[in-house]
């Protein structure tokens, strides 16, 4: 299966939703819609803040326990970056529809799988952020996520960003880390077998993928000029930024 190297995204793809986005990267394609702030159901209503409702729909079948877990992770992370205090007693609904996932040709894929699926989390996370931006939901920061696998090789280990299903299977440990645009660690999920030192290396790699330009502010301007045409953007944060800039430029074209 061919996997496009650079991520692709489109904003406001759904006409009826307040905001929407479609994102594909590393074999995953996800479409998200965001509606909000809308009226909350009585049981979800919170007196001081908006309730963030995340729904993850798998590519085939109905959601199971795994989707509930993904939802709860996304919900707790997104609640942190959306200004929920601005919308008391209301609801912000985020629906994430998975459209395509990379297949592993070596094994029989089961439709219902209960184990965690780390490799899809960055796609879900980025799509949700893009859709929230498209819906103009006020946020205190944006955030980006990346997945890193530690794959054993003969006598050494190598870190693989956005691993393929085959690499995931061989991996000793898999890590998902999300950083806010201020460079703070928002989410960290790891499984497998690793040490603190390995986690540190993974942290640095993931930080590079998510927000390299934040840590080295000086060359941001240079990158902005360069990246429009050639190669991919420097990092995920930069990618989200340039996607939005393109959209704004296209929308204001008539001026």
């Amino acid at each position: 299966m061919t996997v496009t190297a650079a991520p692709q995204a489109a904003l406001s793809v759904l006409p009826r939703a307040d905001g929407s986005a479609k994102y594909s990267h590393a074999g995953y394609t996800v479409t998200a819609s965001v509606n909000g702030p809308i009226e909350a159901q009585r049981r979800d209503e919170h007196a001081y803040e908006a309730h963030v409702d995340v729904i993850v729909r798998p590519a085939a079948g109905v959601g199971g326990t795994r989707e509930r877990h993904l939802e709860s992770i996304l919900q707790s992370s997104l609640t942190q970056i959306i200004l929920v205090k601005n919308f008391p007693r209301s609801l912000i609904q985020i629906v994430l529809q998975i459209e395509a996932t990379p297949e592993n040709d070596y094994v029989n894929t089961k439709l219902v799988q209960a184990s965690l699926n780390f490799s899809i989390m960055p796609a879900l996370f980025q799509t949700a952020i893009l859709a929230l931006l498209s819906a103009a939901v006020p946020m205190r920061a944006t955030a980006t996520a990346s997945v890193v696998a530690v794959v054993p090789e003969t006598k050494s280990k190598k870190l693989v960003v956005d691993p393929s299903p085959r690499e995931l299977e061989a991996a000793q440990s898999v890590h998902v880390l999300a950083f806010t645009s201020q460079g703070e660690l928002l989410l960290a999920e790891s499984e497998g077998d690793f040490t603190v030192e390995e986690w540190d290396e993974v942290y640095e790699t993931a930080e590079d993928v998510c927000c390299k330009s934040e840590t080295s502010k000086s060359d941001v301007d240079m990158m902005l000029d360069d990246d429009d045409d050639d190669a991919g953007p420097a990092d995920m944060h930069q990618f989200i930024r340039s996607t939005l800039e393109d959209k704004v430029a296209a929308d204001l074209h008539w001026k």
């Binding site: 939802e71 999920e189 790891s190 603190v196």
Partner: protein
């Protein structure tokens, strides 16, 4: 404020109920010694009590108590013949574990055939928010996904321990000579391939381990208790010796022999903490005055409700090299715990590991 008479005071439970956040903060911000509303220090976990083999009908069971969180875990083995597995792909027998590892890449039998089936039930009334007659809550579903994933990623159950083999050669050599001659007569025209097929050990069935957890009461920190119960129950599991009977064409269990203990590798222990922030409604980000925080180990229900950010680290120090192996990190819901704090927290988890290891 000035208008209220200075004599107005509430008993502690009323204060806790009316304004839980300032109540917890009052104890933690005390200048001399920070203490939580439950009397513990911030880095003090509740002692854990583990009682095994309390269920008579399960192959292994454990009851774990940590403060007011009580969970019962029962492990029951059921035999799954390979003929009932859809998309089953035969396994050859391996002589060494090393050989198996090199051949077994991508052959996660435990995962492919769902040989470990954890299920978590939060009993009605274990905490006030659990009402009767509702579908499984998000918490129950999330917990069972986490337990399932950890069971597989830790590899604590060896696939070799749940396989049931049929060794034709052993049966033949054990039986008397007449029988062997009889057998040969039946298959007069068999070639070498057929011979090999008949003498090669064949995998006939698997043990499926149903791991059921029931929360009797829940006072915060369900995952640590659930995982400790799963670990203790699996270590307590004794499966009867099963063999394939070629005459009956079924798997039979030896009732005479004592059941064999299930082989469990490693002792991973979960350690959870919640981050309590000084300002309840503070904005995120570094612009304002620093928001003080406390990391509360093993949070109870009151604390868990007030904390957004939760971190769970699963460590295993059993390895002889003395190096701590981390099995899982889960951190979500906030930005307080960064790289340095996470490193420090692994140290806290190592301490917790020693405490729990002693009780197992």
């Amino acid at each position: 404020m000035a208008a209220s008479p200075p004599t107005l005071s509430f008993p502690r439970p009323t204060f806790a109920k009316l304004s839980p956040h300032p109540y917890l903060l009052a104890g933690l911000a005390a200048p001399d010694s920070a203490s939580r509303s439950n009397g513990r220090a911030p880095h003090e976990a509740r002692p854990i009590h583990i009682h095994t083999s309390s269920l008579s009908h399960a192959h292994g069971s454990a009851l774990v108590r940590s403060g007011d969180t009580t969970v019962v875990c029962g492990v029951r083995g059921e035999i799954l013949p390979v003929t009932s597995i859809p998309q089953y792909r035969p396994t050859t027998s391996y002589n060494t574990a090393e050989e198996e590892r090199s051949a077994g890449l991508g052959r996660g039998e435990l995962r492919d055939y769902d040989l470990l089936v954890p299920n978590i039930e939060l009993a009605t009334g274990c905490a006030p928010q659990f009402l009767p007659g509702v579908p499984p809550t998000t918490l129950a579903q999330t917990l069972s996904t986490r337990v399932y994933s950890l069971l597989h990623s830790c590899k604590i159950v060896d696939p070799a321990a749940v396989r049931i083999w049929y060794h034709p050669s052993k049966v033949l050599s054990a039986g008397d000579e007449d029988e062997k001659v009889d057998d040969d007569d039946d298959n007069d025209g068999d070639n070498g391939d057929e011979e090999e097929r008949r003498t090669k050990p064949q995998l006939m069935a698997y043990w499926v381990l149903y791991i059921d957890l029931l929360f009797v009461s829940l006072d915060g920190n369900p995952f640590d208790a659930a995982w400790a119960a799963v670990l203790a129950a699996l270590r307590d599991t004794k499966l009867p010796e099963a063999r394939w009977d070629p005459d009956l064409e079924t798997v039979v269990c030896e009732s005479k022999k004592a059941p064999m203990a299930l082989q469990i590798t490693g002792v991973p222990v979960a350690c959870t903490a919640a981050v309590f922030l000084e300002k309840e409604h503070a904005e995120l980000g570094g612009k304002q005055k620093k928001n003080r925080h406390w990391i509360l180990l093993d949070p109870d229900r009151l604390e868990a409700e007030l904390c957004q950010e939760v971190v769970t680290v699963v460590v295993d120090c059993e390895d002889g090299s003395g190096e701590t192996r981390i099995k899982s990190i889960e951190k979500q819901g906030g930005t307080v715990i960064g790289r340095e704090l996470m490193r420090g927290f692994v140290g806290v988890a190592e301490q917790r590991w020693k405490e729990v290891r002693k009780m197992l």
